[in-house]
Symmetry: none
Subunit: 149 residues, 2 copies
DNA sequence: CCCATATTCCCCACTTTTCCCCACACGGCA
DNA sequence: TGCCGTGTGGGGAAAAGTGGGGAATATGGG
């Protein structure tokens, strides 16, 4: 099980390539074969899953029935944004234009480690998102990290 | 086991040929011998199965009973539209006119990877289909893309 | 039965994109 | 100071996407 963490500011070169921080790479299982699955995240960001972590997601939708209309919609919606990406010899990923465009990414990115996945943000959008949160870190923590009775 | 994914915009040339995206081809088993079975899909789109995946579909309908009228109807409908297609040397498929017409395909297509099959849509029809669904990407992703507790 | 037209399939050609490799600057560390 | 590991940039070869010509095959009407 992966456990990514940390926050990194990186640049996007003019070929659309994004380097994955060395500290993050050290946490990627060798099973992932330098392959990541990039897809849309919740807010306006991209999710990056090492191949072995993505396999768990895929297993959970494989059981759905192709003959059920709702299941079909479900699988299409989820998979249509997902793309395989391989690290090049400099440990960078070439991310397709449409995904970069979705996340509003241009020449700078913020890379966040979030346990089993990695998130990629346009720094300005991330800041705006953070400023829009009604709660503070402290008030949320109080609710989330409450000891189970 | 195939695991197609992603969404690709491609053009149909004036001979009715459709290229299969390289990223999709990389996920096709060599067992498929560059051969695909094209048939009518659910909703107004075409289903494309690599030969090896189609064999599994056939196995599953082999178990249906010839004496059950509903089974007979289902099997006939599925099989009568199914046709073999081989990739040409440029990795394109020539899809019969009547199937293209069924899917309302003209000069542009959307190709979706959906686990064991590939779907081919008229982009406008796909958009209309998606707009008619009550759920969104977020509601779908919420179910699947969350950490295992 | 034969010919004219259409369709299918197999090449070849061009443009764009992607990928692979090399180069360099910077910083930590022995 | 010299040596890695790391982040950044770019050139060039290879692959991918697109289009079209022309021979073999099929279709249909006289």
């Amino acid at each position: 099980m992966s456990s990514f963490k940390g926050r990194y500011s990186y640049s996007v070169d003019n070929k659309g390539r994004i380097a994955i921080p060395a500290k993050v790479r050290k946490n990627v299982s060798p099973d992932a074969n330098d392959t990541f699955i990039v897809t849309r995240g919740y807010e306006q960001c991209l999710f990056l899953y090492p191949q072995d972590e993505w396999a768990k997601v895929e297993d959970s939708i494989r059981g759905l029935s192709p003959s059920n209309p709702q299941h079909r919609f479900f699988v299409r919606t989820l998979l249509q944004w997902a793309i395989d990406c391989q690290l090049d010899s400099q440990a960078r990923l070439s991310i397709p234009q449409d995904l970069l465009k979705f996340a509003g990414i241009e020449d700078e990115v913020l890379i966040l480690g979030v346990l089993e996945r990695i998130e990629i943000w346009n720094p300005k959008i991330y800041e705006a998102y953070m400023n829009n949160q009604p709660a503070t870190y402290e008030t949320v923590a109080e609710v989330v990290l409450k000891p189970t009775p």
